[in-house]
Structure formats: structure tokens, C-alpha cells
Subunit: 570 residues, 2 copies
């Protein structure tokens, strides 16, 4: 548990140093050509830079990932701005006459904010000190590469690999790496062994792989077919040898336990739960229409439902000695996946202990999905399924479970999957903002229209249209009603719920619904259809997106609206 | 438990018959003057009547109570309509030449829909068969008086006692009671012994007493002073002799137990919980502004916070033998108060067993409020406090606790405190609507501005205004953020939370908040201030009231909006 005691930053820096040492393990015999690294203050230029950046980030709606994949924001940087920035870089180089040459050791000495933060990329040396705090993915993530090569990170977060991002990087160039890029250190593509995916998935990012269920396959049956179930990967997919797999369970109030797959399958009672899984960023596209956000441009398909089977987390924690009545301040259960970045940092998350241990929490360590062994993309051989809680906590390729007094300190728990007031932007967000907003757990009530398709054209004289969709609320709250409007919310019709009456406070599944929606009499021309759900706490959805817009683009649960039209008589 | 097995209707009819028998216990020696009671079908006239009624009900925003006090709707009937209706009544009488005379026994024979439903009032005989289903308080409540005098009911629901309602009643007159009104049966005012109340309370209905906390005393400290705490009574206040008091506990999986106050105070550990209490109808006024609703015209003060002390419900249920692990389908805990109507029907409600028995449910049988013995208005000597759940379930003057497979069948659980789609009105509501909507338990997230006052005039040149208010969410969900807008929701500022960080999933108290809100630069003239809260499930409030309008006017949790203005330079 020592590791938990350390702060995130020091842990990351430690890892960074280790990564760096590994990267430069081949003995370097280069001659030291010392060069003064003092540069004129770039503060003014940086501020301007940041503002332009942020404007672009917000203006662009490309397929951007959360957390680590925030880097994807680079992909959308407009070329006109980039050219401008690239020129600025050239001017700087010209001012210093010819580019200074630095050794790997010189660079390694610039791995903190005090010394300045240098990185190398393909033979170039860059001082990114002033960029650290502006990095859309968080400063801590840049610090992983501080004092060394960013090449392996860009291989991991492949969205960086565009001409646009490269041009921006050049604006930070301070010199060349002695000896140039070392071909022996060329980084292999960490995504070379990704599994094959169904071609109907709507891909929102290739590396890491993120894709959603096509709208017309969404909610058409109780479960989403495994092959069409949305995939949300933060990192390359790990490939696990089942025989070698073991799950480590440790932490406050537990004896350290290692369980093989066979142990898990034979020592515990099997349980199944039908539960929806939803990415926090589902429907981000609607927020992008208000103001652009970095993050994957999910439409309404980053949600699905499956029957998950495995063993109960509470049974496993009890097996490891956890005693609710003598838990001495244990408040969280942390999870780590086998998916890790170049520094060895695993995907991580945590949930409250009450959810984990509650008799009605129904948290499952799942082997299978809709009766079939988990696929690689969905967490083979074992994933967590936390019903009623946002997908980010249902850690895939589960490797470690830790009981603790504190939340997971992972990036995805602390610096992502939180929503702020609409006035908080990448320009203004503070550590206090991140600290004060709780990590998203239970999802708010939401719904979406799956049919008709947005943009559908109806025959002239159409008097009603078949509408169907899904609704879902976190925390086990049932959907008690779905209203659908043919006129932008002026009048409402009540939909029929296809699977009403889930267990109270354990309504983990989505609710599918349908109705034949009467259209305004003798209408031709455009119509705005919208839907909104009410859950068992009588919470309902906000009317519009703008007031709930947030810089990470999560929990967009405003009424879902689509535009259709009825053809006019000819 | 036999009583629970009976249907609501049969139980009510049974009670009605009993009440009737009691009312006519004095031997009647009147001569029978038989008169054919067949009248021409009134269906057409009734339909017109109902429509006019409903229009009026919806148009009027008077101080109307929920449940039993739906009768208050009568109070607002416009005189022009009433005169018209009164004329119609006279015409009918004129048609029959002279009024027929009926005995009490004649009337008693008309106590079902099959025989026709007759009632008497102060010497008049009325056939209200066609009115039963249109009664705003529900047909079952009229059936309590079927075949007998409505005088005691109107004494109980004193809102009927207006010239307007009397005129409407006359339209149903079919004759006179033999011997006229019997002065010996004059009904005493059931509200003659109501306690003294603080004069600062804003009274929304006198009989039963309903009053809210004045806005400027609302949320100004952690607890609401007991004397200014909102009062929501459905019936006359019962006066309880502490020494004679006993609490009866029975039902599925329990041994029958009777506990005195002393037993409760000595056999169980004491617990305190700081919890907000809110009437489901809080902020109904905002719905009335969209479309008029019967029900008390609550502004934002039907909410308060107190420290409640007593014993835990779960401890008492365990004492009575309840075993969660062998509870055999017990799903609800029902409660009855000592407040009852003329037929002996007690106020009743139920909550789910998981809330009652959950280790974090914190349901209290409370003796005291803010360190002082409960006042008569707040349930002396014992009331239920169900944190995170709408006030209607926190039964006052608690007399009986019943574990059961089924919900309470009380009017207030089955035919009130439920919300429908805005298209469902008193005209169109069906039994299926009532059946399909769940009884409100956990409240949705809400908030309100307590200062400045609505309509406040600010000095010219005012650049910012001190704003404060409350926010609350049911189900133990914490308030994580309150946003306040100076411009009707276009821009938002984050408020400071005065009491953040309640226990996760046990955030029973309201959250008070404040900020100095910057006003638009150099602004003069009107401004719309609004606030909205976000809870720990990231649920937030809907933007506007109209789409959540519902015929009972409950759970208005749209953004709270007030209008202020900044004086122009002179």
C-alpha cells in the first residue's frame, strides 16, 4: 500500500524518471556539448499561444478521447494557425543563428519545472516548460516524458501524429539532439496487435480504439450484440494468457490474495446482471454543437446493454477478509486494469465501498457478456461491471483490487470524468475546480431517439411516425416515464415502455420505449422531435444543452432532439 | 393484517357505511314518503359542468391543499359561472314543480353508483352520482359521504364552506330532507382545538392548517426555527396524551408489539439526523403561473431543515422480530398517523423496506426537533422522519407501523403525490395513470433564491448583488454545485456552498449557498436572476416549468427565477 501513500505527482515523476532511465539504458558515449539553456521569457507568447489553442480546441469537433486521448485535440488544429505558429518557431531558430546541439544527458537534466522541462522527438530538442500547464491532457501526463523522448508517448497516443501537431511542437524547438534520431530506439506501434472489429461500428478514434453502436442497431433488442457494443479504450488493448492470469486483492482490512481464473470460477457463486453500460461522454456531439470540446465526438451510441455474468465483488472482498462492521474508515475500492501506458501506469478507477459491499450493489467481476466469453475489446479475461455507474469505473482487463480510505488517484478519477459550470474552460480551469468536483459515479437520467433517423424525410400526408429509443438513469433508478414531443417540446405524448418494472433501486438496465407519435395536423415541412425521460426520483432531463455544457463534454442529458420533415404536396 | 387484504374502494365504502350508521344512530321516526328517484339523464349537462369546472380549477391559483384538501378548489369557483350553474339548478327544481321530500332512510338507500349516490347537506338532498368521478379529491372521498350527510366532511375540509361551492351543490339538488336540518346533529368544528401558530408563517390554508416559512427567514441558518418551520397538515391536529400514547408495530414477519413513549425512550439507542423536510408541492406557485392547479399555492418555503432526534426505525423493527435475511417478500413499511377524518380513516403512507432497514437509511422515529420536544403541529409525541424522501411519507402523530408486501393503499400514497405528463389533466386522468406512476419517494434536485426578494429594486450603478438560497436533492445525493445567472440563464456564476461535504449517499440536509453575483456591466432596468443546482449523480434541474407541469403541481424543480431591477440614472 506504500504506493497509495504517495501523491499523484510524485508517483508520476518517479515513473517518468524510471521510464527515462529505461529509455536511455543503452550506454551513451556522446561528447557533452554544453550550451546555455537560458532563453528569453516566453510568457507573453505562450499566453497568446494558449488562447489560440483553446479557441481551436473548442471550435473543433473531431473524434477526441478523454483522459490520455485528450492529445487527440492536436489532430484538429487548423493549418492557418499552425503555419503562423510554425513561422514563429522558425524566427526563434533564426534568432539564435544555428541550432544548439544537446546530448541526451543535457535533456535528462531538464525534467522538472525548476530546471525547465525538455523533451526530444525524432532528433529535435524542445523546451515545453510553459506548455505543461496548458496541455489538454493535463500537465502530469507531459511530465511523464520530461527529460526524455516523447516518441513512445506519441506512439501510444497516436492522435499526436499529424502534421498539425508536429508544427506546433516545432514552435518549442530549442535545438537538435546530438547524433540525431537514433534508429535503434525507434518505437514499435503499441497498437500493432489490436483485435479485429466489426466493420459496422462507428469509429470515433482508431488509436486508442473507440467506436459506437450504429444508431439503427441501438436499443432494437434487450441486449446489444457483443460485436456492435460500443468500445471505449483509453490505451492499447492488452493480450492476456488465461493460464498466467491472476487477480491481486489487497488493501486496508484485507489479507493479500491472488486468485487465478480457475479460483474465481470455482470458489465463488456465479451471478448475472442485466445492466446498461454508458460512456460519460455519450452524446458529446450535442455539446460540440454548442461549443467545441476536446473528446470523442460520440453521438447517441456510446451506450449498450448486456447480461454480464461472473462473481460478486462483495463475495471476493469478503473472501479476502473484508468485514463491513470493522472496516475502519475504508471508503473506496480501487481497481487497476492491465492496459497501461509507456510508463507502466495502468488504467485506474475507484468506487465507493458502499456500492461495492451493498447487498443491492450488484457489482460483478464478469467473465462473460451475453452468454459468451468476454472479447478482448471488452476486457478478457475479467472485467468489472458496476451497474448504475458510469462506464469509466467498470475497469476492463482487471488486474488489481485495492480497498482504501482514499479514492483512486488515477488520472481518470481525478482529472477527467468530472463536469464543471459552463464558464469553466481549458483557459480558466484550476486544480481547485478538479478537486472540488466529485468523480462521476451514478449517471443522471437520459434518453435518446433511435428511430426515425435524424434528417428523415416522411411522405406527404404522414399523420404519425413510429418513434423508438432508449432511456436510462444511474444509481438503480427506474425509468418511470418517457415523453416525446413532435413540436420541439410544446406538446408531449407518453411512450410505451418496453421493459418497465425493473427492481426498485436496482434498475440497472436501460429502458427501451416506443410510440406512434401523432404529428401536427396537416403538417408539411420541418419538425423537431424530442424526448425526455423521468426517473423514479422524479428527476428529469434539462431542456437545452448550453446551460449544461462543460469543458470535458460529459453527461449531456438534455432532451434529445432530432430534425425530420414531412414532404409538402407537389 | 386482514384490513390490508381489502381493496381501497371496498375499505372506503365499508368505512363510509359505518360512518353513516354512526351519523344516523339517533332513531329516526320519520314517515316514509316514497318518491321515484329516477331523473332524466344528466350526462350531457354533467360533461359541460365538468369542463367548466376543470377550466376554472386550472385557471385559479388559490391556496389549495393536496389530497383531502383538494376540496379547496371549490373556493375559487368564479361567481359568474356559479350564478349560471345556480340558475340551472333552479330550473331543474322548477321542472319538478315542488321539491320532493326524502327521509334519511331514503337517502341511505342511495349509497352506491348502482342505486345512485345521494347526500344531504343542511336539510337539502342531492344526487351527486355523476359528480363522483369528477371530484377533484377523488371519487372515493365522496363515497365516504354516500347515503348520508356531507356536513361533517365539509366541517373537516372547511374549504368547502363558501358561497361558491354551495351554489354548485345546489345544481345537484333533488329534494329536501324530511324534517329539515336537524340542529341536534350540527357538526362541531373539528378545527376548534388547533394549536397557536407563529404569526409570521405564510398561511396557505387555514383548515387544515398549511403554512410556509417566510422567504427571508428561509435558509438563513443551518436549521429552520421550529416556530417558522413549514406546516403541512392534511387533517385536524390530533391532541395526544403522552401517558396514554402507544405505538403499534405489526405485520409480515413481525410479532405484534405495542410500545409506550417510555419504552421507545428507554429500550433503544438514541440517534439524531440533520435532514431537510420538503413538501412535494413546494414551488407549486411556479406551476400555477403556467396553468392553474388545485393544491396549496406554495412559494419556495414549503421546505426546512432540522436536527431530528429519536430512535432508528430499523432498531424498532428488529426489536419486533424483523429479520432482513428472512423477510419473505416484505417490500414496504406502512405508517399511520393519529390524524383521521370523520370516517376514522387515518393519514397513511409507506416507504420501501430497503429504505427502512438499510444501514444508511437513517429513518428516525423522532421525539424532538432542533433539541426541543416536537410541537403539536409537527407530530407530538412521535413522528417519522424519512431523510431524502418527500415530506408526505414522514408521517406525524405516528400510531401504527405495518410491514407488508404491498404499498400503503392510503389516498396520499395511491391518488396523490404522483406526477404525470403535462398532457394529463383532471379531465383526462385515468385510474391507469394513477396506477402506473410510482408514489413519489426520493425528491429530484432543486434550489431556490431566498435573497434578494423577487421584485427587489437595486440602486442605480449596482455592480453586484448578494444572492443566497438553498439547494436540495433527495435520496441522500449531495449538492455538488449551484450556478446562478444574472441574465436568465445565458451566463452562470458558481456559488459558494455554506455546508458542503455531507456524507456520500447520506446527504440528507439541504445545502445553503451564497455569492456576490456580478450584474451585466452598466446595466439598468429589469433582470431575471435564476439558479440551478447539480447533485452528486450529476442530475440537474430542467430549464423551464411548462414541460414538467403536472396536474397535481408537484416536484416543480425547474430553475428558480426571480425578477429584480436596477434603477436607471435620473
Amino acid at each position: 500500500m506504500k504506493r497509495l501513500g504517495r501523491s499523484l505527482n510524485s508517483a508520476l515523476l518517479h515513473q517518468s524518471r524510471q521510464a527515462q532511465r529505461t529509455a536511455s539504458a543503452a550506454p551513451s558515449q556522446t561528447q557533452f556539448i554544453r550550451t546555455l539553456s537560458v532563453l528569453p521569457s516566453q510568457a507573453g507568447a505562450e499566453k497568446q499561444h494558449k488562447q489560440a489553442w483553446t479557441q481551436h480546441l473548442l471550435r473543433l469537433g473531431l473524434g477526441l478521447g478523454a483522459g490520455a486521448s485528450l492529445f487527440a485535440a492536436y489532430g484538429g488544429f487548423s493549418s492557418s494557425h499552425c503555419e503562423q505558429q510554425a513561422s514563429a518557431g522558425q524566427t526563434k531558430t533564426a534568432q539564435s543563428g544555428s541550432r544548439p546541439i544537446y546530448s541526451e544527458d543535457d535533456v535528462a537534466e531538464h525534467a522538472t519545472k525548476d530546471t525547465g522541462v525538455w523533451v526530444t522527438y525524432q532528433g529535435g530538442v524542445y523546451d515545453v516548460t510553459n506548455w505543461v500547464d496548458q496541455h489538454p491532457g493535463g500537465g502530469a501526463r507531459i511530465m511523464l516524458a520530461a527529460g526524455g523522448a516523447i516518441d513512445p508517448f506519441w506512439a501510444m497516443y497516436a492522435q499526436h501524429k499529424t502534421a498539425e501537431v508536429r508544427k506546433i511542437l516545432e514552435t518549442y524547438r530549442i535545438g537538435d539532439l546530438e547524433g540525431g534520431a537514433d534508429p535503434s530506439k525507434q518505437v514499435a506501434d503499441p497498437y500493432a496487435n489490436e483485435p479485429k472489429r466489426h466493420k459496422a461500428l462507428l469509429v470515433r478514434s482508431a488509436k486508442p480504439f473507440n467506436a459506437e453502436t450504429p444508431t439503427d442497431a441501438l436499443g432494437s433488442g434487450p441486449s446489444t450484440p457483443n460485436e456492435l457494443f460500443y468500445v471505449r479504450n483509453h490505451l492499447p488493448v492488452p493480450h492476456v494468457e488465461p493460464a498466467a492470469y491472476s487477480l491481486r486483492i489487497e488493501g486496508e482490512g484485507l489479507r493479500h490474495v491472488e486468485l487465478s481464473l480457475n479460483d474465481l470460477k470455482t470458489k465463488f457463486k456465479r451471478h448475472s446482471v442485466s445492466a446498461a453500460m454508458q460512456c460519460s461522454g455519450n452524446r458529446r456531439h450535442g455539446m460540440n454543437e454548442v461549443k467545441k470540446i476536446q473528446g470523442l465526438d460520440w453521438d447517441i451510441g456510446a451506450i449498450g446493454s448486456a447480461e454480464w455474468s461472473g462473481v460478486k465483488l462483495r463475495d471476493v472482498l469478503r473472501y479476502a477478509g473484508f468485514d463491513e462492521d470493522n472496516s475502519d474508515g475504508v471508503a473506496h475500492v480501487q481497481f487497476e486494469g492491465l492496459d497501461s501506458d509507456i510508463s507502466g501506469t495502468c488504467y485506474g478507477a475507484s468506487i465507493p465501498i458502499d456500492k461495492a459491499m451493498g447487498s443491492h450493489g450488484d457489482v460483478i467481476l464478469a467473465f462473460s457478456m451475453n452468454g459468451r466469453t468476454l472479447s478482448t475489446d471488452h476486457g478478457f479475461p475479467l472485467r468489472l461491471v458496476v451497474p448504475g455507474v458510469t462506464g469509466a469505473r467498470s475497469v476492463k482487463w482487471l488486474s488489481r483490487i485495492i480497498t482504501s480510505k482514499e479514492e483512486s488517484q488515477a488520472h481518470w478519477q481525478q482529472h477527467d470524468y468530472k463536469a464543471f459550470s459552463p464558464g469553466v474552460t481549458m483557459d480558466t480551469v484550476t486544480e481547485e475546480d478538479w478537486r472540488s468536483a466529485p468523480a462521476l459515479q451514478e449517471s443522471p437520467v437520459t434518453s435518446a431517439i433511435c428511430e426515425p433517423a435524424n434528417g428523415a424525410q416522411l411522405e406527404e400526408g404522414t399523420e404519425e411516425v413510429a418513434v423508438r429509443g432508449y432511456a436510462y438513469s444511474g444509481g438503480g433508478r427506474n425509468i418511470i416515464r418517457v415523453d416525446v414531443s413532435p413540436d420541439g417540446g410544446k406538446t408531449w405524448h407518453v411512450a410505451t415502455l418496453d421493459n418497465p418494472g425493473q427492481l426498485p433501486y436496482r434498475a440497472w438496465d436501460w429502458t427501451r420505449w416506443h410510440l406512434d407519435l401523432p404529428l401536427p395536423k396537416d403538417h408539411s415541412g420541418p419538425l423537431e422531435l424530442c424526448c425526455r425521460a423521468v426517473d423514479s426520483s422524479y428527476n428529469t432531463q434539462p431542456d437545452t444543452v448550453a446551460p449544461i455544457w462543460n469543458m470535458r463534454g460529459i453527461v449531456n442529458n438534455a432532451w434529445h432532439r432530432i430534425n425530420i420533415s414531412v414532404r409538402a404536396e407537389e
